[in-house]
């Protein structure tokens, strides 16, 4: 196997500083976005695919992006930036208003923390926002592990060496 076939980390912990901003990801949401994400995540409750149910029974403006779909979009946004060596540890998000077909959602994020924990795992903390126009639809704090050097890979960590909840004191 050629050396070129072996993937190398595209972003190391040392490449990241507090205050860095991630490249934005913009997505024009359609009914297809909402329905495919809901079906693929087995979230088949009708408010995510049935316009009449959403508007007439639930009193909402339209069908809206479901929770696992939002989680997946946050993950895609974050791991597009980290590359495949980035390993999500924890994601906490608050859906303040819903995301509907016709909305243009824009994901943006700022690095709020860069640290190595007691096990030697490198962590980046992110403040993420999903905006629709001037409205912040969802806020998210994410904790993602990055390699500390080219030979490191957070995905190799298991058991006591993987602490996604941050119980081990960060240095």
């Amino acid at each position: 196997m050629s050396a070129a076939a072996v993937p190398v980390p595209s972003r190391l912990l040392g490449d990241v500083s507090v205050g860095d901003e991630l490249p934005e990801l913009a997505v024009d949401v359609t009914a297809t976005t909402v329905v495919l994400g809901a079906l693929a995540s087995r979230d088949w409750r009708p408010q995510h695919h049935d316009h009449h149910f959403a508007t007439e029974r639930n009193g909402l403006a339209d069908i809206f992006l479901n929770t696992p779909n939002q989680a997946a979009w946050f993950e895609r946004f974050i791991t597009d930036w980290t590359g495949p060596f980035g390993r999500p540890g924890r994601m906490t998000f608050r859906m303040r208003t819903s995301v509907f077909p016709g909305d243009r959602m824009v994901f943006g994020a700022t690095v709020t923390g860069v640290a190595t924990d007691a096990t030697g795992c490198g962590w980046v903390d992110l403040d993420v926002a999903l905006r629709v126009g001037d409205r912040v639809a969802t806020t998210c704090t994410a904790r993602v592990a990055l390699p500390v050097d080219p030979s490191d890979n957070p995905w190799r960590r298991h058991g006591d060496r993987w602490d996604p909840g941050g119980a081990a004191a960060a240095s």
């Binding site: 994400g37 693929a40 779909n69 939002q70 979009w73 495949p84 909305d103 126009g133 996604p164």
Partner: protein, 192 residues
């Protein structure tokens, strides 16, 4: 004075009845209907346009640290979602479903998710058969929100593998609300 759910909804007595569910486990562990599988991963990735090869390309995944295809961590809750299958009649009751039904009966038929916290304890491989144990964490007093009058319900899901080792966990909060009682139109500023 009415003692039915609709009659005392909004009073402390109704909240007390809702809070009786706090700390209760929502029935036995729900086992995923299918093992973690490539088709469902592919559907999710294609729905989002996620091109990370370790999710869908066996050769690329074999060269990665995983050695094989893994599932996106955020698919954690997908594997055990019930879809439209009814609850088994003999599962001994389900505190979360019973709580939701009590709120529905009192007119809080609307539901939106508001908060979610997922923690990923290990990677998920093809062939894993996950199960989830759900516990009702808390029920808020009646709140006046933009969407309407309602109660916030927080549940905790613990996802386990076949050896009962933790795979991930999730805190999940929904607002159960009375449609049509909101202070503002529910459209936000979106969906022109």
């Amino acid at each position: 004075m009415s003692a039915d759910a609709a009659g005392d909804a909004g009073t402390g007595a109704f909240h007390d009845r809702l809070r009786a569910f706090e700390g209760k486990t929502a029935g036995p562990a729900e086992v995923a209907p299918d093992e973690v599988n490539q088709a469902m991963i592919r559907h999710m990735c294609e729905a989002l346009g996620d091109e990370n090869p370790v999710y869908v390309d066996p050769e690329a995944a074999a060269r990665s640290v995983h050695g094989e295809v893994v599932a996106p961590p955020t698919m954690l809750q997908v594997w055990t979602m019930r879809g439209l299958r009814p609850r088994p009649p003999d599962d001994g009751g389900n505190a979360r479903d019973d709580l939701y039904a009590m709120l529905d009966d009192a007119g809080f038929t609307g539901v939106v998710a508001t908060d979610c916290r997922q923690t990923y304890h290990r990677e998920v491989h093809l062939g894993d058969r996950l199960r989830v144990v759900t516990t009702v964490e808390s029920v808020s007093p009646e709140k006046h929100t933009a969407l309407g009058i309602g109660h916030f319900v927080t549940t905790r899901m613990s996802y386990l593998d076949a050896a009962d080792e933790p795979v991930g966990d999730m805190l999940f909060r929904v607002l159960k609300f009375r449609p049509g009682t909101g202070r503002v139109a529910p459209s936000g500023t979106g969906s022109a």
